[in-house]
Symmetry: C2
């Protein structure tokens, strides 16, 4: 049986998960798959630290060269996290012809072109299933199952922390800050939650997914991004009354040769397959011109789900006679500057005759077509009401222009949330 | 660019879908994937017949040898359907070292061992993503994404026709036979619907899925099978009142080294991801010891979704330096003769004091633990009521033994339906 020598870069919870999976399930995998692995060195910051799985001390090192310079190591597993030095180490490994298997969406998305070039130039393998949506095989699906499709759109719940927060806000009517604090206590949100709640984590992942789906590099800086920190229980509740569920969505679409890629809160109809994706689960829903609608659902994070994807990549790499690289051309992607969707707009307005007519007139002048309006008691100020508009699908720029011209003496915008999947 | 010569066995709607996909999207695929295809011959029964896509007449032949004996043809695409001659043709092609790509679950499941052996002995490729769940990449997921997992259970809605029927029965309270007749009119059910409604189609697919999940051959004859023809609107409705949705489920589980594989109507809780899978959609929900819960959802049939999977296999085969065969050992699978689940039992009973006590006593004597009982007016006979029992999870054989001993003077069983995913 073929034995493959591997090295780890990093050994936190995910690294320990991989080690544990190889130790407890390696024999069965060897039987089934005909490949076996020898872990030669593990780069860690503090070799003396207590870890979640017992790792023999002689494997640990704090010198990256011990992994990168070892000519016997064929596969380098990277789960250090963070942009640097992870990206440089990966490029270094690829330049030496080693296969890289990574869970690091940030380093990969931020250095996509350099990393892919290094792999291509040195005939080295690059595997990154674990970098997006944990155990869900969405990378494999895009690269090896949907090649016959023109992917027209993709919508994903690709950040578990924000989905957990929004699910609880919906179920309990709770405020964002309360649920966040609770999630932090439970270890479901980081002490500094910015990367998750502001959509950075989802933007990195979407950059990778959209690049694969549209076969052109969609840089992370081109991804429009808006977080969930301003979401109020009212928005969640009013959406509910319209039969809508609020999610942090990652949306990518190709329209007339231009790509839109955006991460922001969005409502989906309660009947949409994504609406039922609760708690810390992830899901990617997509449309291909041949396959039609499709959804992948599962655990997008956690040590063992991520280890499942990493070890699957390891097995695939060890069995490969030739490594497949992403089918992405060199052309930069032309990004859309506007996109069409339904908009949910909540305003606080003066409770006076003529106000609705004025606001409706403003929308009309900007070509924004209104599908429904609801008026609710209970503005924050005396004499104020809440007005909720649902537009027909149309230009987002038009909605923004209209809202910019709103006369603040009569109404002010509380929130503008896109509605997808209608 | 590498060009690969292919031959078709069959050219109905699916074959025409593949032809169409290659003709309309082939150039883009060649750009992205670096492979191109030449269709050399197409075996059909009646070369003169009108088809759903315009196929040049010179490609058509009614002699199988024109495809099987052509030394230039590297990949044989099989979508004739039916067990024979499809299985013999596939084996013939594999013996000549040709790669076979098939959508034919029946031929593949019924001749699994011979077909896999022929591929192995002749170093030929065997690809069958399209044979289960159309466009959904469940075969790829089991073989190439979940290798690091011990799959503990799998539940699938893997027949679109029955899911369409059950969805409409639920939504409209309609009777089975009415919805079936409608589905037949709409072309969603065959004139002879037996293969779908009696669960044969799902059993073939489950045999393939369970074989891959458990790495031992699960022959189709070992799959327990029960169809949906006896399902009544009452069952659907009563289930609804308990918060349950009725589906034709394909269930496979490994418990203590034994495999259970069964296709039958089953309730799932309304909150379960499978409950929302409506209409003709398919979904496979599974549990792996590392990846946790996962679900794949999409179009399980139709010419273009099936063509999407077939062409994806074609591309994969054309790019492969070495073909991967299913990681299945030679050992026959030990099948479970009993399994544990929650049971929904509906009875028609005499409306007399003591009847409930007698039935409850009978269950107790057989070790069946009752979770809840509901009594409903409206038996078919005067003086009769409906009694609905939900058991705790437990032995199915115990429930059957209890029901066998039921005194028909006091009660008779209308239906016994398993409840999964609780």
């Amino acid at each position: 049986m073929k034995r493959t020598a591997i090295g780890f870069l990093g050994c936190g919870n995910i690294g320990c998960g991989v080690y544990r999976l190889l130790e407890t399930h390696g024999e069965t995998m060897a039987q089934n798959e005909g490949v076996a692995f020898d872990i030669r060195r593990i780069l860690v910051r503090s070799p003396g630290k207590k870890r979640s799985w017992d790792i023999p001390a002689h494997l640990l090192t704090d010198r990256a060269e011990d992994v990168l310079d070892d000519p016997q190591i064929e596969i380098v597993m990277e789960f250090m996290g963070g942009e640097e030095p992870a990206a440089s180490y990966m490029i270094e490994a690829l330049r030496r012809g080693k296969t890289v298997v990574t869970a690091n969406k940030m380093a990969l998305a931020a250095h996509w072109e350099e990393i892919v070039r290094a792999a291509r130039e040195h005939g080295a393998g690059l595997y990154y299933e674990a970098s997006v949506c944990g155990a869900i095989p969405i990378i494999r699906a895009l690269n090896e199952s949907l090649q016959a499709n023109r992917i027209t759109s993709m919508m994903g719940i690709i950040n578990g922390t924000t989905n957990y927060i929004l699910t609880r806000m919906r179920e309990e009517g709770a405020a964002y800050s309360d649920v966040l604090a609770d999630a932090q206590r439970l270890g479901l949100a980081e002490p500094d939650p910015t990367a998750d709640v502001e959509g950075y984590d989802a933007a990195y992942k979407l950059s990778i997914l959209a690049t694969l789906a549209f076969h052109r590099h969609v840089p992370v800086e081109s991804v429009y991004r808006e977080g969930i920190t301003k979401i109020t229980p009212q928005d969640v509740q009013y959406g509910r009354e319209f039969g809508l569920t609020l999610k942090l969505l990652a949306v990518a679409r190709e329209v007339d040769g231009r790509v839109e890629a955006r991460v922001h809160p969005a409502f989906v109809p309660d009947s949409h397959p994504l609406a039922g994706v609760g708690g810390a689960f992830n899901a990617v829903y997509l449309n291909g011109h041949a396959c039609g609608e499709m959804m992948f659902y599962g655990r997008g994070a956690g040590d063992m789900p991520t280890a499942s994807a990493l070890v699957s990549d390891m097995i695939k790499a060890a069995k490969a006679k030739r490594h497949m690289l992403p089918a992405v051309g060199d052309a930069r992607c032309e990004m859309a500057e506007d996109w069409a969707c339904v908009h949910f707009v909540r305003m606080q307005a003066k409770d006076e005759p003529g106000v609705l007519a004025q606001v409706a007139g403003l929308f009309a002048r900007h070509g924004v077509s209104i599908a429904s309006v609801a008026q609710k008691a209970g503005g924050d100020r005396p004499g104020a009401v809440q007005m909720i508009f649902l537009t027909h699908g149309g230009s987002e720029q038009a909605v923004r222009r209209a809202l910019c011209e709103l006369n603040h003496d009569i109404a002010s915008v509380c929130s503008m949330i896109r509605v997808e999947g209608v």
